[in-house]
Every structure is written in C-alpha cells, then in structure tokens.
Amino acid sequence: MKGNEAIAEAAIRAGADAYFGYPITPQSEVIEYLMTERPEERTGMVVLQAESEVAAINMVYGAASAGKRVLTSSSSPGISLKLEGISYMAGAELPGVIVNVVRGGPGLGTIQPSQADYFQAVKGGGHGDYKLYVLAPSSVQEMSDFVGDAFDIAFKYRAPVMILSDGLIGQMMEKVELRPQKERLTDDEVAEKYGSWALTGKKGREHNIITSLYLDPEQMEQKVRKLMKKYDQMEREDMRYETFQTEDADYLIVAYGSSARIAQKSIELARNKGIKVGLLRPITLFPFPKQPLLELADQVKGILSVELNAGQMVEDVRLSTEFKVPVEHFGRTGGIIHTPEEILEALEQKIIKDGSVRHHKTREQSIF
C-alpha cells in the first residue's frame, strides 16, 4: 500500500479516537483513505475534514485536552499553519500526533518530495522554548509502525509528536505488515486513565484546567524547566537510530528518511570500488543520535550529511561530532531526488578528495 494509506490504516489500528485534517498534496490520501474506510463503523474513530490546517490542529488540541488519542496530517505549507497549535500543545502538555509529508519550499514551493522541513520540525518551528519528538520513517512499513509508536511517546510524555516523512515515502507503494487492531479506550477508561489531568468531566474531583498561560515569571520559568526535563528524559530513554556497515567504515554518510534508503545503495556502489563507507540513520531527529555520531567521529575520516535540502541536518552532525572530522552536506532540492551515483560522487569530491583540509563550501557549491 501507499505510505500515506499506511499511516491512515495504522491510525485506525492504533486505536485512535479521531483524525482532523485538511487536504494538501502530497498527503491527501491520508484523509481520503480514512473517509473511504469509515473508521466510525470499524472502531468508532471520528474523521473530520476541517476548514483549514489551523482549525484541524486546534481540533486536535481540543480532543487531546479531553484525553483522546488524536492525530492530524499535512504537508509543509500546512504544517507552517499548524505551528501555532503545536506550540500551544507543547505548552499545555497535550499528547497528539502530527504527520508531515514534506514537499519542497519555501512558500507554495513544489508538490515534489523534499526534506527541507528539518529545521522547522527539529528546531521548534512554533514560538517559545519547546521541542518536538520527531520520528523519521524511511519505508512504508515504518510509516505504519511509527503511528503507534508516536502515540505511545505522546502519552508517555504528554507532548506532541511529529512523524516527519516526505512525498517520496508518502506516495511510494510497498508491502506492509500491519499491526493488529488495538481497541479504542472507552470514555470510562479515558476518564479513569487520564482524569487526573484531562477534561473528562469533573465528577468526583476538582475541575481540571488545560492552559499554556503563565503570567507570573517564576511560574513560567518553572514550566519551561519542566518541559526541558521532559526533553532530557526523551534523550536518555527514547532516542532511536540505526547503523549500516559502520564497523569497518573509513567514511560515514548520515541520512534519514528517503535519503537513507538511497544512501544505502551508494554505500554498495562505494564498497564495490573499495571505499569503505557506512551509514548512520537517525530514526528520531529529536532526540538526535549525538553520542553514536561522536563515537563514529573518532573512527572515520570524514562525514557526508545527505539530505533532500540545502543543508539543515548537517549543522547537527557538525555539532554532534564536535568538529573532529570534516562534515559536508550534499543534497538536491526543488523536488529532485539525488541518485546513489550522485551521492557517491559527492562523497568522493567533498570528503575523500579534499576532506583532509577543513573548509566549508558556499551554500551553492554544497547543493550541486
């Protein structure tokens, strides 16, 4: 099935209570699949097409306030509109899942795939001191699996979680092993499980308040500290990554999502030429696999960060490796997908040939 359809089906199976969304290419299949599938009959899950992305994320905010498992999906320009709501969710400590099937930008940009929303997802995006837990699927299987995982993390931390995909994986068709149907919680179960904080009706307790407003500076600072503790815990307990052929690697490619898929092929091509290259794939973009990267920096001679953008994650790779080895970026933009050959060529030119001299190229040189 298509990546976007996998997300929709996985949401039903994850026992989601509601989906609120607004159509936008290249992810409209999510709501189309849900509307066709009639989840209200299968599990009682609500699906509603909102009047805008802004309204959709605020419907998520409302349902999450009331302790329900709820998600929305969109693509880049739509996510920009949702950021206000995401910041409010982070501030009010509400669980919820936001899927971004990224397209190229800025502005209306293109409907073609891109990874240019890395900064937006990982560096806040919305206003204020908060972070998003960001999962980056690189297959249709992970599109499906990460929906359930995202809900688990969202409720573990009472925080919004983003699945950062892209148009390539969203539109790609692959075989998927779907997880079994998880029962939706009944209203009574929601009240029992989340009644300590959620709006479930105040029967037998004091009234609950969900807010992100703290006019007292001391209180506001306390709130920010509480959020930071949560993010520290995410870094300790829920950072995810995987490595591929790094054991003997002289050079390292760091790539996530669709770029990681393509880079695996580049590594095969490189090894056929006798160049030992490995891959580190961050599965969570926040928390970022800082420590594994720092350790690999002692082993390899240079690192290439491969992203479908003009160079975003490369900054985190440099920070994580503490400038121990040269780190360069390669990536196509505008919806053009880099080929395995292009990546290998970039590795040879930018890292292997002149990687011994530490200098950064201009942004323009970095892209092509």
């Binding site: 209570d17 509601a18 309204a55 349902a63 999450a64 009331a66 308040i209």
Partner: protein, 257 residues
C-alpha cells in the same frame, strides 16, 4: 437595617453560583463579564450538568475564565475556541461543551472557526460577549466597534470607508442551516440579566436535546476601554450599541425570526 442584619443568612438576596470558584475576578469594576460568567455557571448548576460540562476559554479579557468557572476547562489559542470545542464534542458527544469568547476572538481572528463550527452545526454553545473593543490589550478597535467610535487604533473614530463596518455576527451565522438558536442579550440590568439567563438555559437545553449549535451574543459595556464611568458606559451602550445590535432572538428552533 444594621450591618449585622444584612449578613444574616435569612436576609441574603443574592449569592454567586456554586459553580463559580472563590478566585477573585480580574475584570474591571463595572464590566459585564462577571455577570455573564455567573449567569453561565448558574444555568449549568441549575441544569445539574456541571460534572459533564467542558468549557473553552478564549484569548482576551476572559482568558482566565477557567480560574473562575468551576468546570473542566481548556484555554484555546486566539480565535480557535470553536475548533478546540469541535475536537472535544466530536470525541465526547455526551458532554456539554461551550466556548466563551469576546468580539476580537470570535469576529476577527476566529471568524473562520466560528462560521464553520456554526455551519457544521456542532452540538455546542457559543457565548459571545460583544463590547465593541479590545479590552485586554488596552482599547484597540474591534470588528464590532461602532462607526465613528474612538479607540486607540481608531483615534479619530472608526472610518467605515477604510476600516469597514461593524460586523453583525449573530445575523451572519443565523443564516447558516447549522445554527439552531441565535439570540442577542444584555446583562447590565436585572431585567436584562434574567432574560440572558433564560437564553443561556435554552442554549444548554438545546445541547441536551442534540439540536446543534446555540449562539448567545451578549452586548456588554467596557467602561475602561470606552473611558467612561460604569454607569455612563451602560447608558452609552443602550443609546449607541443597542440600535445597531438590537436585542432579542434572531433564530429560534432553527427558524429565523
């Protein structure tokens, strides 16, 4: 009557609703918000639905409604309360869901969310307190500011040619099939407050009967924003606001009056 007689329980003529907390109201003395809060909670209390009510507070003067109203409440981003309330009522259809909003929140930044929640006929109550000015931010022009009215962002008076006309939200949304009950009330006199309470009760009863969206507009004074004494502001409201925003039912049982 001596002071000690006045505070005897048998001489008590008024008390705040049991669903109002003991938190001191943050509204300016003379403002209509406090009465509107109290009436809302009285109605919810009298209908016996306090344990099953979920409210959504806006951004504006009534942003702290959740501190005063003793029911489960969330606070929405500016203008987004009808969307937030939609999320709640769609996933908790048996609850009584209401939003309490001011004119900037409902009729400017939240126009889209308001109109679409009304159009979908969400089974909820929207309470709309219209005082024709942005109170909390210090008296700027609202979408409902009257023609010629001076505010800090229309210091020479609202010029209809460049700033548009004051928007009549109740009339606008009453034309949408999704709204079941639309009424405009006031709370500055006992008579008006009683009338408004009746309207609020009808609205929450409609929710009980799953009739769709009930919209209760309350024209209120903003003595601070209008730079008048509370009494003068009430007189000014009657003479200027009521002719443009006439009180009374606009739509009852799904039928336009």
């Amino acid at each position: 009557m001596e002071v000690l007689d006045i505070i005897r329980p048998e001489n008590k003529v008024f008390s705040k609703s049991g669903l109002m907390t003991d938190c001191a109201l943050t509204f300016c003395p003379g403002c209509g918000h406090g009465t509107a809060h109290n009436l809302t909670m009285e109605v919810i209390d009298e209908l016996g639905i306090g344990d099953d009510t979920i409210g959504v507070a806006p951004v504006g003067c009534s942003v702290f409604a959740y501190d005063f109203m003793n029911v489960d409440m969330t606070q929405a981003a500016h203008g987004r309360a009808p969307a937030v309330a939609t999320g709640i009522v769609r996933t908790w259809p048996e609850k009584y869901v209401f939003t309490y909003k001011g004119d900037g929140d409902l009729a400017a930044i939240g126009t889209a969310e308001t109109i679409h929640a009304c159009n979908r006929g969400e089974n909820m109550v929207i309470i709309f307190v219209n005082n024709g000015i942005y109170g909390m931010t210090g008296g700027q022009m609202a979408p409902t500011t009257l023609s010629g009215m001076r505010t800090s962002t229309s210091p020479y008076g609202r010029d209809i040619d460049t700033m548009g006309s004051p928007i009549k939200m109740s009339e606008l949304i009453a034309n949408l099939p999704g709204t079941y009950y639309v009424t405009r009330q006031a709370v500055h006199t006992h008579k008006h407050a009683r009338q408004a309470k009746k309207a609020l009760k009808t609205a929450f009863q409609n929710t009980r009967l799953k009739k769709g969206l009930s919209f209760v507009e309350i024209i209120a004074n903003c003595n601070s924003g209008w730079k008048m004494t509370p009494n003068d502001s009430n007189i000014w409201m009657e003479e200027n606001m009521f002719p443009y925003f006439p009180l009374g039912d606009i739509k009852v049982n799904g039928t336009l009056k």
